[in-house]
Symmetry: C2
Subunit: 185 residues, 2 copies
């Protein structure tokens, strides 16, 4: 951030009076520009013994496999966001079950929220997917998953499926976890 989005003057990065961390401040109009984490909402769509994955057609991690998920938009709920992303990436309708994984990525200011869901009817590759496929557990492409959040969600799912209980799992992805996927970038 270089300029005030309200008045167009230069901003500076400093701790406001009464605050305890630096913010982008506009001395011209007085606005403090707060920056906050973003929610990535998505689903784990299940059909019988199979799980739906999408092969990404866009960067980052083009060609790698993911659960349908993306940034939550203003004016929608978390569940609407999860269902919308599933519709956009997999052309699929789902019946949401419970919130299944809540994963913080503090180093990139993201919070993943993945809902377990039942796939309803057909599916197809959306604009951001090269292909969309239902996988049995032994077919999951563990070595070509797109993000550590996806791996963590799938590992919980197959561990929980033995018991038939799917409680919410809360976790944190570290820079080291992420490095396994993105290299040192």
């Amino acid at each position: 951030m270089n300029f005030c989005s309200e008045c167009g003057e230069k901003v500076r990065f400093a701790v406001p009076q009464g605050d305890d961390r630096p913010r982008y401040l506009c001395d011209a109009c007085g606005v403090v520009h707060y920056q906050n984490p973003r929610i990535v909402a998505g689903t784990l769509p299940v059909s019988g013994s199979k799980v739906l994955l999408c092969r990404r057609a866009i960067a980052p991690r083009k060609g790698y496999w993911t659960l349908p998920a993306g940034y939550m938009e203003n004016a929608e709920t978390t569940q609407q966001a999860a269902a919308r992303e599933t519709r956009e990436e997999a052309c699929a309708e789902v019946a949401l079950a419970n919130l299944y994984t809540l994963i913080d990525l503090p180093h990139i200011n993201q919070v993943y929220m993945i809902f377990r869901a039942d796939l309803i009817g057909s599916f197809d590759a959306g604009a951001e997917s090269e292909e969309v496929v239902l996988f049995e557990e032994h077919e999951i492409p563990w070595d070509t998953l797109a993000f550590p959040t996806i791996e963590e969600t799938l590992r919980h799912y197959y561990a929980d499926r033995c018991n038939g209980l799917f409680p919410l799992h809360i976790g944190t992805i570290t820079p080291e976890d992420r490095e396994r996927y993105f290299g040192s970038a």
Copy 2:
């Protein structure tokens, strides 16, 4: 938003190519300025049969009672945010239990995440609180609660306490719910 925060030129509000909703666009440098919901993280601090509430010393809803909660910051986890807000507003340490309420407020682009927590040790009014008090159920100031999210969380808590089970509750606050607190503003 009036100006591009990257280059300082005027932005326009229009649907980008390949997108399906309007964004603030900078024709000068090409940046699309996405805007996303913010997380409000907090706790329901419990001490024996009592619940801790804070009387707000700041707007909005100055003088009304709330659970300790506030905007999640970049570079922290949801649980760190909930504990930090509790420390700041109630000078209290807590041991977090489960995520207890997840409440969407799509008309103001917020997602509340309240964790059930055990109060540890002492407490006091932080800078944003006029006073901090432990309440028995029959003492809860229902008519002077600050926000509908707080009322919803407390109602779930007292309903669940009979059973000793505290599952995650997911809900949505509508403009009508909010109007009961804020009037027609």
